[in-house]
Symmetry: C2
Subunit: 383 residues, 2 copies
Amino acid sequence: MSNSVNGVGGSNRATTSVNGGGGPAVDKGVDYANYFCTYAFLYHQKEMLSDRVRMDAYFNAVFENKHHFHGKTVLDVGTGSGILAIWSAQAGARKVYAVEATKMAQHARELVKANKLQDIVEVIEGSMEDVTLPEKVDVIISEWMGYFLLRESMFDSVICARDRWLKPDGVMYPSHARMWLAPISSKLANQKMSDFDGTIDDWYNFVDETKTYYGVDMSIFTKPFTDEQRKYYLQTSLWNNLHPNQVIGEAGIIKEIDCLTATIADILDVRASISTSIFAEDTRFCGYAGWFDVHFRGSMQNPAQQEIELTTAPSEDFGTHWGQQVFLLHPPLSVGQDDELIIHVSMNRSQENHRLMEIDFGCEIRYSSGKLLPPFRNKFYIE
Amino acid sequence: MSNSVNGVGGSNRATTSVNGGGGPAVDKGVDYANYFCTYAFLYHQKEMLSDRVRMDAYFNAVFENKHHFHGKTVLDVGTGSGILAIWSAQAGARKVYAVEATKMAQHARELVKANKLQDIVEVIEGSMEDVTLPEKVDVIISEWMGYFLLRESMFDSVICARDRWLKPDGVMYPSHARMWLAPISSKLANQKMSDFDGTIDDWYNFVDETKTYYGVDMSIFTKPFTDEQRKYYLQTSLWNNLHPNQVIGEAGIIKEIDCLTATIADILDVRASISTSIFAEDTRFCGYAGWFDVHFRGSMQNPAQQEIELTTAPSEDFGTHWGQQVFLLHPPLSVGQDDELIIHVSMNRSQENHRLMEIDFGCEIRYSSGKLLPPFRNKFYIE
């Protein structure tokens, strides 16, 4: 034996059931082991706190809209190190409730005290779904976005917080979110295909050797092993900070979320079709890239004085720790200027782990010559 | 946000309690998420099946001791791909029960069928602690060894199987196990110290920048961040296949286990003192290495015809996937021929995850000159 003693996937053994947002029942302990525990490390907090695009957006959103905070009550969902709660207090909040499920809550409490805000910021260790506040709040602030926005399913907790604790005229920070999709070129497609081929070649050697030396025929595993490796190398999305010139066609929006009104049902399924024109000459369509942006606009009754945007789009200078999620085609396809792609996308939560996603792409290509490429489909996993 | 949605540590939220071998109650779902799921991947099975030292030892143990298997009933604890169960059947077993907790059981069943042994080998999907067999068995075979033998705490399941299902005159495969410890030299000590220094330098920059740009003083986290990083870089044991010439003093045995009689209490604490002489000239004592061997000797009443040994000691040509566990000292100490080390070792299970270990070393050095170095202690984590 010998393994990592660290999870590499979810478990479907539900024991203590909690609402997993419409999916199968979720074991809280398993969810903690698989998900939350990462956030209990300061190293991981530092990574997020070092993302200047992320930090600048939230910082400006708060300090350029002090009217939303001055004398108000604020709830920070998943406060982590406590940074957003502290900024809210520095911007003049009367009271800030900072909820955190992991032991990081203890560090957040120390940070609040070191910054002399312990009379304003109250750190509460517990999961948002279980916490009771003494009052409703004027503002909910949260940095809940995962890869391609919805991975981690943390927005569920924000919705729960909003429905229970936000005043009717309260505002959400951020107030809006959008998911984007675009066709891309990437050298990773060749590399991953070559990695996959290598692991399969190696498998055949292994089957031969096991038969020769140990008298057992393992060839029955060839298909499931190939499926497992195909999923790993070819069907799992990749983290990448793309250069903008790798985007070969117009990006399209596949989901818009109003954080004030969205329900869990709204985000369980993401289904959209977009049409995009290739604007690069003679290039390779290697796959899709997905990213998101969020906006801080306040609400209709209570708008922002200064609207702020946080985007994770491909950028030469302003990459984020979210990067983009890349879904590669094998093999890539030759395309050229004015070829049109019609892309159908459907994203759902994984059955085994409600914080992970499965995504289907359907694509038709209408070449500028008039020729049509029959539709093709690809399935990917956001792990 | 954004994280791995994969565990990087255990959880202490026990919901469904099972016997965790004398430690705190264990949540089965959490244990599955943290531990078992790795074994559900064929890629991981292939890694173990490609370890020639491991494979040769078990293969020879079975086929050079067919008298233990011919016409007998066998239980394979944690069969994985099913290899040991299949060999047992090929060596003439009348019936083999092959127990596996993960979905790998389904693959094992296919492999058994593809090798036409389905009338002899019965694959049972379930955890050993929960399984009921229709009869007691003559042989228990299992490959239960983790890094430094006891990591993963899988021997608990073997003990459980033995106490419930082994006939009074039954035999254990393997029958004996030993843990070894030796002083080593290693260039990794410098590298890890430099990695640690780098991460701490970077931290101070981060604290300055966060204060300058975002008005929050993070210096309160300097101590806990340093502790966290020290644990990660300097106090976590490393996997390494050492060259034999990196062993600078005699190796000593710190634990001997008779698999037929050992109890969980016997393996919960490993405490020993060994004395070792440095046999290298003018070298650096960079830390300790731990490894194990197991033996296939049958039992007193029913001995092996051919005793087989599986060792994971440092070897130029016969490295294993277990390698050795390396515990580095910072800084290393200069030592020379005939200097004597008295090493006290104490290993326990981690409170947070009963499959991980904590280990304390105490060391005194009696230089060949007669000079004594006062004792020093170091704590490490086997993660």
